[in-house]
Symmetry: C2
Subunit: 322 residues, 2 copies
């Protein structure tokens, strides 16, 4: 399959604009000082549904032909993609089916339910999730929308970097988190199409560093037993996102959880913005792997702000297994 | 003394602009739906030092004549005004002396110390604080800058509403928190000078409702044993702020702490913004005293975002007496 082009990204930007925010770009004197750079935060935590995932989900859902869309859409993500898909389906006036493990955190169940999705609970194994999703697709005729391994989703995620480059044209570097690779690969395509001299880095938790390992090995290595607070980044790259990352990314840089948690608290304190652990990765990498990023003007995509406010990672005894 | 005029406010706006942010104005689909109104959030939590107080402190510090400023400035606030005064003094390159009670929360001490102020600790009584401040003024020649009962401070705080009205000209109502009354009286003057038909409300915690009582009685009634989570609003109106509020305010509306805490959590979840308890008051009043506010387009001043992230008010066992 041919990777999305700049035409696809522009088409996505036009398609999603009625249903998504053009998110603000913030700066922080504190972060500039610590990084010894000019840093621009593209704040997707202020996006509809609280994460960039709304971009890809809207682009995918509105790209489905009318004949096929009538039976709704489906996914087995339990995180930000599930809420985004539910939101996108509600915007289009179709059904969303979301397969969630029985032990999913109540706050995530509530977020998906609030957007009007029909939730299908299943035992908490990958096999059960996939089988339950297949059953929904088979029995209800719903269209499955993958959280990242889908060119419409990738083109949608690309619009965040596309907007950032429109407003801040000269960037030496751009950093995004990397989980399944939808945001990173979309960003890479947007930057590549811009013909600018901007190095793009993926920021990954050390406890789920499959992108780093896959690039080193030259082939996809799925993550085994991911162990990180960054719940949005525990997934593995897909066969559509990996080749794009392999082709264009400057590097994958990793940091461990204590750094992620410390940086998260610093951002809450200094920028007064609620950012989720996964969204902290670009800042953590910027401040703690600085010597590997040769750049003076740096864009960061702050991917989301969905946090269970009753369990904050810097509070002792509040860490919660999912 | 004559209250600040629109010329004073414009002068303040010009004076503070190199050292303060023109803060963004946000909207929230959730709040609009709940309030059945178009609501505009002037986000002073994103202001320098994390609160609108930077405006008044900068205006006051830069208004001191060169001959008098050399010995520095002083205050006995331990909250946002202290950090703002320390910041303003650092901008001007003069000393700041901040008198704080020995039992002040470490997070507040750190904030003031970080801006380079010299901290003078004293026993935690109002009398000790005032005497220690007087000693600093007498012995060091520092100029005391009151947190709100000062026309330069009031003119500085007025610039927030001034900016909001520039960007959102047609507002039926504007709501600010009220503690000592600096922000509310400044807002009233800015709105009054604008000649627009905008009703201005003060939002006050029921546990520190001296502004409400003072307006009812027609004379200043200082607060007795304030009991509220909104730590920035435990103070009493001053003899400069009260007459302005008496003359121009549409009403003072109060809500109790459980409403403040619930609204605060909702704002963190929905808007992904860190707002402190005092800053929540305008939203809490809008949603819970809606019938008393006849307006369709409503501006709110979100006064600050300085919160001890280790003690969040909705977490059981985390409430901390100060």
């Amino acid at each position: 399959m041919i990777e999305p082009t700049i035409a696809d990204i522009k088409e996505a930007a036009a398609r999603i604009s009625p249903y998504t925010h053009r998110t603000p770009i913030f700066t922080s004197a504190t972060v500039n000082r610590l990084a010894e750079a000019e840093v621009f935060f593209k704040c997707e935590n202020l996006q509809k549904t609280g994460a960039f995932k709304a971009r890809g989900a809207i682009n995918a859902v509105y790209s489905i032909a009318k004949d096929s869309a009538g039976n709704g859409v489906a996914t087995h993500s339990s995180g930000n993609h599930a809420a985004a898909l539910a939101y996108a389906a509600r915007c289009r006036g179709i059904k969303a089916f979301v397969v969630m493990p029985e032990n999913a955190p109540p706050v995530k169940i509530a977020a998906v339910a609030e957007y009007g999705a029909e939730i299908k609970f299943c035992p908490p194994t990958q096999k059960d999730r996939e089988e339950t999703l297949q059953a929904v697709v088979r029995d209800r005729g719903a269209v499955a929308v993958h959280p990242y391994n889908d060119h419409k989703v990738i083109a949608g995620q690309a619009t965040a970097a596309h907007e950032l480059l429109e407003e801040v044209p000269r960037l030496d570097a751009l950093i995004t988190p990397v989980g399944g690779g939808g945001l990173l690969s979309g960003t890479l395509l947007a930057v590549s199409a811009s013909k600018r001299n901007t190095a793009v880095y993926g920021a990954e938790p050390a406890g789920a560093d499959d992108a780093y390992r896959s690039l080193q090995a030259g082939h996809l290595i799925p993550v085994q037993d991911p162990d990180t607070i960054a719940d949005g980044l525990r997934t593995s790259l897909g066969n559509l996102t990996f080749p794009i990352i392999q082709k264009y990314a400057a590097a994958i840089l990793t940091v461990d959880d204590p750094i992620i948690i410390g940086t998260m608290k610093m951002l809450w304190e200094r920028m007064k913005l609620i950012v989720e652990p996964s969204a902290v990765l670009p800042v953590a990498v910027l401040l703690h792997r600085r010597e590997q990023i040769r750049a003076n003007r740096i864009g960061l995509i702050i991917s989301g702000g969905n946090v269970d406010l009753d369990y904050l990672p810097w509070q002792s005894g509040s860490k919660r297994k999912e």
